[in-house]
Amino acid sequence: MSVDIASNADLETAAGNTVYVYEAPVRLWHWINALSIVVLAVTGYLIASPLPSVGGEASDNFLMGYIRFTHFTAAYVFAIGFLVRLYWAVVGNHHARQLFLLPLNDAKWWAGIWHELRWYFFFEKLTQKYVGHNPLAHLCMYLAITVGGLFMIVTGFALYGEGAQEGHWSHALFTSWVIPLFGQSQSVHSWHHLAAWGIVIFIMIHIYAALRWEFMSRQTVISSMISGTRTFRE
């Protein structure tokens, strides 16, 4: 499947042009997804390194329980969102597909990555114009969200299924093969935890890049993820 990158878009990207890129479900998903990941990262961290002990009777407290509950709730939001987004990739516009596919044998795409890298290292004065994601962002999003998110879902539900026990769908679907694949549960925890850091790093760079593009590129960026439209400047 061909994915629109910079390509033919010359017409569309002419200064003053406004294109509808991110349909409402994509935008909605983006912000729900962003929120769920923040919740997951914070609660995940607290699962691994819990807060100082609380006092009183055990039966009067459920702090760790709530933290874990929040993690699992956000995890369901994240995972269902992921599935819905996948569905929208099929039925939505062609930009909606971009997140899930890399045009690996498109030389122009590679050239775009090269160009954006040079831009970040101040060798280029101007970014190129893109209707969809710029190729570098595209690559990072794919790695962090498509691959990383899937990894978190698979490992996360494998861990979840351990507690939910045999008979639960998560156990059948994930725990049953993921734990043996990694050798044991502890390794799955470690990798789930490491990948969480990977996603955190993506978010840091992603937000910075979004801001930077907003101010320094010749196209709208943040506002596009709000309104759905992208307007090009000269």
Binding site: R68, G163, E166, W197, I205, M216
Partner: protein
């Protein structure tokens, strides 16, 4: 027929003929056989000699044998004298040297295809196997030969099941778990360092009683004892959920029996029956006596980082690195890079802004 049969053993243990027959029909039913088979099963059990067991030792510490003899129900004595026939076990047998080797040969021949092979420890493969020698030969050869005619194999303990301590990095002898050497036989893994005594006797008596292998999970462990984590049934779990932890040894939380998670407890990732069956006749288990679980029934538990760390190591990054170290460091680097990049961007923009106004 002078040999004490299964039926006689059960009778001696106070089981009536009626319940024996009931047991046989249940067995028939659970095997999916017609009721008529019940009497066949009963007949077999009334006349069948005790199942011979050959117990081999590779690289190990013999704690699995030690654990086995601690069994309270059934008593080790009854297992050995009445339930099975422990025909070869170099730790316990009277004979040695040639006489011991002759016993092994005889049993292999006489009960070809009908004996259970129990393996404690594992074979080293480096140095042509000569890190473990038996009768002047590499242990791995004895293991293979004995496995060839066995009905089934039990891998006792973490050594036989996963490799255990001698297989910990850098595994100088290339100690190798049994299932990686014997690939054509049913193998039941009974991991633990050591396994709980009653789990060991439970597994073996299950096989004798029902004449079949226990139901195994994907990793070859009997589900009945290894289907749940320590954490799932830990009596300190309410403290975990409450967020009440031992923060340091012998602190107030330790004296109150708080959760040992922050002291590195591996209960959340360890499949074993300790928190339900407990040890040595139900007296205690590691957590009840104040130390976290070290995960002794899990594959490679020696190499996951310190026993007192909650966030454990990822070996691909070397022995030192855990997820927070790798991830936190990278996140720090990324954060600093973003700030620096932003500063440089702002600077260069301010500078070029004057000359190339309007161009963005």
């Amino acid at each position: 027929m002078a040999s004490e049969t299964f039926y006689e053993v059960m009778r001696r243990q106070g089981i009536t003929r009626r319940s024996f027959m009931k047991f046989c029909s249940l067995t028939a039913a659970s095997l999916g056989l017609a009721p008529a088979f019940a009497s066949k099963i009963a007949n077999a059990m009334e006349t069948k000699p005790r199942t011979p067991v050959i117990w081999l030792h590779g690289l190990e510490c013999t704690c699995c044998s030690e654990s086995f003899i601690r069994s309270a129900h059934p008593l080790a004595k009854d297992v050995v004298l009445s339930m099975l026939s422990l025909d070869y076990d170099d730790t316990l047998m009277a004979a040695a040297g040639h006489q011991a080797e002759a016993a092994l040969e005889e049993i292999k021949k006489k009960y070809k295809g009908n004996y259970i092979l129990a393996v404690e420890g594992n074979p080293p493969l480096n140095e042509d196997g000569m890190y473990c020698i038996q009768g002047g030969r590499p242990f791995v050869e004895v293991l293979k030969e004995t496995a060839a005619d066995a009905k089934a194999i039990i891998s006792w303990g973490a050594c036989a099941s996963w490799g255990c301590v001698q297989a910990a990095k850098p595994n100088p002898t290339r100690a190798t778990p049994v299932h990686k050497v014997i690939t054509d036989k049913p193998i039941i893994k009974v991991p633990g360092c050591p396994p709980i005594a009653e789990v060991m006797t439970g597994v073996i008596t299950y096989m004798l009683t029902f004449d079949r292998l226990p139901e195994l999970d994907r990793q070859g462990r009997p589900k009945m004892f290894y289907g749940q984590r320590i954490h799932d049934k830990c009596y300190r779990r309410p403290h975990f959920d409450a967020g009440q932890f031992v923060e340091s040894w012998d602190d107030d939380g330790a004296r109150k029996g708080f959760c040992l998670y922050k002291m590195g407890c591996k209960g959340p990732t360890t499949y074993n029956a300790c928190s339900t069956m407990r040890w040595n006749g139900g007296v205690s288990f590691p957590i009840q006596s104040g130390h976290g679980c070290i995960g002794c029934s899990e594959e490679g538990f020696w190499d996951k980082g310190g026993f007192y760390n909650r966030v454990t190591n990822i070996n691909q990054f070397g022995i030192e690195a855990n997820a927070d170290k790798v991830g936190g460091t990278l996140a720090g680097v990324a954060g600093a890079a973003v700030v620096a990049h932003a500063a440089v961007s702002a600077l260069s923009r301010a500078r070029s802004g004057k000359t190339e106004q309007g161009e963005k």
